[in-house]
């Protein structure tokens, strides 16, 4: 069943999907944010449910057929026991579901190489978020979750904000701005942006904790791919992929993919790059924040039937001053269903190499022919004297 759907997903990736975005379906208020993105392909539908209720999270549900719909029980969702508040109907059509939660933002200083001094953590479930309705753009298929801590004793967010920008895609293509991630119709982009927040130290590094929730029978792996091709993200050769593989046949079911870099400006150039390191993937058995949509969809069994893993992604410069100067940090990742897209050489590179290597060969052959011909001619010009 899953293999068939993966195949269908590949076709959809080639062909494209139709994307609809809905804000707070069935709820008139704007104090909470729930963005439903529905990407309908020829044989299947991808549902992305982005929400900032509790910790910011995204729920990815893949269903077969084109007529699946999202049902949200808002009163239950906003209550202390949200289990089962979010359902995809018809329930039997759900093939695969996963969730990615952004739980915490750490700030630490690396003044000494050995020691890391941690400042108080920003817990993203304690943040207050602006209404997404204002930033929702149906033509560009983007939306932005902007927020700041509900209580800010150090005043670091007085002039700044933390945001998650969501972009949905209908066809495959490549972003124009760095890091120019290659996307397919099976993926969406989430961009973590820290703008204007004051660092609490002189050489601060920031780290984002990303947790994933997987069904039983699915294994999460963090892969590091080193490529020789850095054409689209100059000087960055590494790509991290958090892939969910089925235990039975090791096919890749979903992925969260990012390049090992962040950028320090709104219109980033190569020199704005900020180093990005990933910790290792660890099993996280602590309970997720209660009002998270993850609990709403997966239910109480989320700790036991489903596996939760987490990885810390850190950003900073060699001497840590990079964020201090730029006061802007942007990190992009691609979340999708199926195999993560692979970068290939651009046609320009291939054509240059072909011409550059081919011309001397051609010249060598042509030159040898000319030389042989000329030698032959020389010999025939001589006639014996007697």
């Amino acid at each position: 069943m899953r293999q068939l759907l993966l195949l269908a997903g590949l076709l959809a990736a080639a062909g494209g999907r139709e994307v609809w975005m809905q804000y707070n379906p069935g709820w008139n208020g704007s104090s909470v944010n729930l963005l439903h993105v529905r990407a309908v392909g020829p044989n299947d539908t991808l549902h992305y449910i982005w929400s900032s209720i509790g910790a910011p999270a995204v729920l990815l549900v893949v269903t077969e057929g084109t007529s699946s719909a999202l049902h949200v029980n808002w009163t239950q969702l906003l209550s202390p026991t949200p289990d089962g508040a979010i359902r995809i109907e018809p329930a039997g059509s759900v093939v695969y579901s996963t969730a990615v939660v952004f739980t915490k933002v750490f700030e630490y200083s690396k003044a000494n190489v050995q020691e890391e001094v941690f400042y108080p953590t920003y817990d993203l479930s304690d943040f207050s978020w602006d209404s997404v309705n204002r930033t929702l753009n149906h033509t560009a298929l983007t939306a932005e979750f902007v927020g700041g801590p509900a209580t800010d004793p150090s005043g670091s967010f007085s002039n700044g904000s933390l945001a998650f920008r969501v972009t949905a895609y209908e066809t495959s293509g490549r972003d124009e701005t760095l890091p120019s991630l290659l996307h397919t119709a099976n993926s969406s982009k989430v961009e973590f942006v820290l703008a204007g927040a004051a660092p609490r130290g002189n050489s601060s590094w920031f780290a984002l904790e990303v947790a994933t929730v997987e069904e039983a029978g699915v294994v999460q792996r963090l892969r590091l791919a080193r490529s020789i091709d850095d054409e689209y993200t100059p000087t960055i050769f590494e790509t991290f992929s958090l892939v969910a593989e089925s235990r039975n046949d090791s096919s890749t079911l979903s992925f969260l993919q990012w390049k090992a870099t962040a950028y320090g400006s709104q219109a980033p150039k190569r020199e704005d790059s900020i180093q990005c390191h990933s910790g290792s993937l660890k099993a996280a058995n602590w309970t997720l924040p209660r009002s998270s949509i993850v609990l709403a969809y997966f239910g109480e069994g989320v700790g036991s039937t489903y596996t939760i893993s987490a990885v810390n992604i850190s950003f900073g410069g060699e001497d840590g001053n990079i964020y201090e100067e730029k006061r802007y940090l942007s990190w992009s990742a691609l979340l999708g269903f199926g195999q993560p897209p692979k970068d290939t050489f651009s046609p320009l590179v291939i054509s240059i190499m072909a011409v550059a290597l081919g011309t001397p060969m051609v010249l060598l052959v042509v030159g040898s022919c000319v030389v042989l011909f000329a030698q032959g001619k020389r010999y025939t010009e001589y006639e014996p004297i007697n």
Binding site: D230, P234, T235, A356, L363
Partner: protein
């Protein structure tokens, strides 16, 4: 007869100096110890200039972080070094021969190098990147001309077989200077940063000032060398050294196709090597995850290898000949090295060692080819032109490399360098065929060249002998107008026996024994 006189005087002068009758003081310019001292000074003359030339490459991350410039602006530091030398290559010889003289010229160029490096460092201290570029411009004015002066000193103090050794040593010292720079400047920067407690443009400025001490050292060598040269001139009555270069720009229209192809090879090849070394350190840090020290070490391996290999390859190419084949091998090896660095993650030490070997080989095989293709009276112009367009190519390619890196990344940059090397390869292949089809002598083996040179020399000798004989015969046939010959002629016609003193050939023979 005139030659015999000259030879006697020559052996007299030489014999007198080595004879036991005359004792030379230890400070006499002809003593070995003195000449060794002069050799050492000559080698260190260029040390400061080569040390400071690659300062930007050794401190690329620091320059880009402290001065907040992108790679295109960073590479402008190299471009500004090359721009003045596009024009100055033609005037270096003229300035040294006619305007300043070798001694004053060397001192002036050393002062330019020092002042340039100081302005470069001040630019960093005052956080003015334009001042750094101006410093590199001034540095460039002095740097290349100083190399010409160094060579002129060598030719003036050493002759014949020793000259090859001296040139080799000078080149090695230059390479050692570059290597030391690559490996030390990063460490100096970190010590200064530790001292000041923070990194910034002032840290960079102080580091560059410390690097400028080598230029002061070279200036000192220039001053001492000038004093010793003046003293030698007085004691040995020898003339001030001259480059002997004659530049006539109108000769350019006489350059053959082979020579233009050699120019193309030169520009494209060096444009794929020097800018690559300039950007290499960060390339190895980013792509291969090397530490800063290892990246500096591997970036300097090209220079480290060329220091011993240049004399070896020079000897080999001289012995074997077949220059075009050597150039072809060097270009193909460099292409392989760049492709390895671009498309694989193989250990870059292999590629860089190949690059070092190829670079040394090409230098030894390419530059002598110019002398084979160009008549001697145009040689100065040809070499000057070659250096001029080499600098032009380097300036343009440096900036292009910086722009490419900022917009497209390292893979595209390596593809660009590979394309340059391929262009050079195309030129070599064309040169081979042009040379073959026109019956040129660029690809002769050394033995063949020697044989033909000997044949040419004996022919020239033969012609000279015939000419002299013709002159003598003509002189004998011409009637002499003095009384002695009139009496001789009359008496010979009579058939009378001439007394001894009337016989002209006997008297000349007597004369000859006195001369011996």
């Amino acid at each position: 007869m005139a030659e015999e006189e000259r030879a006697l005087l020559g052996s007299d002068g030489g014999g007198g100096a080595a004879g036991p009758a005359r004792r030379l003081s230890p400070c006499h310019p002809q003593r070995l110890a003195h000449r060794l001292l002069v050799l050492a000074l000559m080698c260190f003359l260029g040390f400061g200039s080569y040390f400071c030339y690659d300062n930007p490459a050794a401190l690329q991350t620091q320059v880009q972080a402290d001065m907040k410039v992108n790679t295109a602006q960073f590479m402008a530091l190299y471009a500004w070094y090359s721009w003045p030398n596009v024009v100055l290559c033609f005037f270096g010889g003229f300035l040294i021969d006619r305007v300043f003289g070798i001694r004053l010229g060397t001192i002036i160029f050393s002062i330019f190098v020092c002042v340039g490096q100081v302005i470069f460092a001040l630019g960093a201290l005052f956080n003015a990147f334009w001042l750094m570029e101006a410093g590199r411009l001034v540095f460039g004015i002095g740097g290349e001309s100083l190399a010409v002066a160094q060579n002129t000193y060598a030719v003036s103090w050493f002759k014949g077989k020793e000259l090859n050794l001296v040139f080799g040593l000078q080149l090695s010292m230059a390479r050692i200077g570059s290597t030391v720079n690559m490996n030390i400047m990063g460490w100096i920067y970190s010590r200064v940063q530790h001292l000041l407690g923070h990194s910034g443009h002032s840290t960079l400025g102080i580091t560059l000032m410390i690097g400028g001490i080598t230029c002061l050292f070279s200036l000192g060598c220039a001053l001492i060398l000038a004093y010793l040269d003046k003293r030698a001139e007085k004691l040995l009555c020898k003339e001030q050294g001259k480059t002997g270069e004659v530049i006539k720009l109108t000769d350019v229209k006489d350059f053959s196709l082979s020579l233009w192809l050699i120019f193309l090879i030169c520009v494209c090849y060096y444009g794929a090597v020097f800018p690559f070394i300039g950007l290499g350190k960060v390339f190895f840090i980013e792509k291969f995850r090397f530490s800063s020290q290892e990246a500096s070490a591997i970036d300097s391996i090209v220079y480290i290898i060329s220091a011993p290999m240049s004399p070896v390859f020079g000897f080999l190419v001289d012995k074997i000949g077949k220059n075009i084949i050597w150039v072809l091998c060097a270009v193909v090896t460099t292409l392989a090295a760049h492709i390895m660095l671009a498309f694989t993650f193989w250990n870059p030490w292999i590629a860089m060692c190949l690059l070092g070997v190829a670079y040394s080989l090409l230098a030894c095989a390419l530059w002598p080819m110019v002398a084979f293709v160009v008549p001697e009276h145009q040689l100065g112009t040809a070499y000057g032109f070659m250096q001029s367009i080499q600098n032009l190519g380097l300036a343009i390619i440096s900036i292009a490399a910086g722009v490419i890196l900022d917009t497209r990344g390292y893979l595209f940059l390596e593809v660009f360098f590979s394309a340059c090397v391929c262009l050079s390869l195309i030129a070599v292949v064309m040169l081979y065929f042009v040379n073959h089809l026109t019956g040129g002598d660029l690809n002769w083996s050394a033995r063949k060249r020697q044989k033909l040179q000997k044949v040419a020399a004996t022919e020239a000798e033969e012609q000279e002998r015939l000419r002299r004989q013709n002159e003598d015969d003509l002189a004998k046939l011409r009637p002499k107008a003095d009384d002695f010959s009139f009496r001789n002629k009359y008496l010979s016609k009579l058939g009378a026996q001439l007394p001894d003193n009337y016989s002209s050939y006997l008297s000349t023979m007597a004369h000859r024994s006195v001369l011996k």
